[in-house]
Amino acid sequence: MNRFLIPLAIFGILVGFLFVGLGLNPREVPSPLIDKPAPHFELPQLHEPDKTFSQKDMLGKVWLLNVWASWCTACREEHPVVTELAKSGVAPVYGLNYKDRREDGLAWLRRFGDPYRLSAFDIQGTVGIDYGVYGVPETYVIDKRGVIRYKRIGPLTSDIVKQKILPLLDELNRA
């Protein structure tokens, strides 16, 4: 009996591993930036090119940085969620307009609405590289000390906002 049970058990374990492994999303690469200081940047603003925006301006506040682009279809998908989150006023939402043309970015905001306090304009995508961006949209939660506490690769959904982001913002705001 044993002679059949042991291989069967091993087979069962293998199936279990495969079942879990194949169910994982290979796009969800753990970011090495979690719990590290948000990389420094200073970029012109999208609406007012003469003014700049830096992550340093936000020290002392809990905030969200949402990486978006007019060419990114998933950004359109998450747009209502970002808008709702921004309206709730739990934390200010700033945009990083990534590898976009200024007029395209502005037109996109006019068409779908602008949920951001302001958007920084990263035409070269160099700030994106510093933040490890590889699949727009991406969203970062940054705490009062300027440390990245959470990163979402891909569109935000209301489930993620409810289960992950809002509780984290609450906790960080109290800290």
């Binding site: 796009r27 590289i129 590889y134």
Partner: protein, 151 residues
């Protein structure tokens, strides 16, 4: 729109490929590095193989760094700091990657151990199973082969 994007993509590609010919030594080193790094947008390609916009940008970053005289180690660390060990095709040996590195070896060793254990046991049991009566019968058979029996 799509056509426009394709055309623009083509132009951008042509522009970004330009530095490749500049200095063959730099290019060779940059490409050797890019072969070892995974493209995050298209995960089954290396940075060297990929034409994704991000892969292009990263290759340009690598070229710049090679030109500035940074070591391979520094360049790889730069990318790992941003994208994690995942960009490396050869992950480093750390506590979290021990199973990855030694798991197959452990499995192989376990398999061999089980195999030898079974073989050894089979040999022992085979020898022990002949009783005295059987031995006597075997001896008779060998001597004259006279015992009647079904053939």
């Amino acid at each position: 729109m799509l056509v426009l994007l394709l055309i623009l993509g083509g132009i951008a590609h042509a522009k970004e490929a330009a530095p490749a010919a500049e200095d063959p030594v730099v290019e060779r080193r940059a490409m050797a590095l890019a072969e070892e790094l995974r493209c995050l947008v298209c995960q089954n390609q290396s940075l060297a193989d990929s034409n994704a916009a991000l892969a292009m940008d990263l290759k340009n970053q690598i070229r710049d760094k090679v030109k500035r005289g940074e070591s391979d180690r520094e360049i790889v660390d730069y990318l790992v700091a941003r994208y994690g060990d995942f960009v490396l095709y050869r992950p480093p040996l750390k506590a979290t990657t021990l199973i990855l590195w030694f798991g197959p070896l452990i499995l192989l060793a376990t398999g061999l151990a089980v195999l030898f254990y079974r073989l050894a046991r089979r040999r022992n049991t085979a020898e022990a199973e002949l009783s005295e009566a059987e031995r006597a019968r075997a001896a008779r058979l060998l001597e004259d082969g006279s015992e009647a029996g079904p053939r």
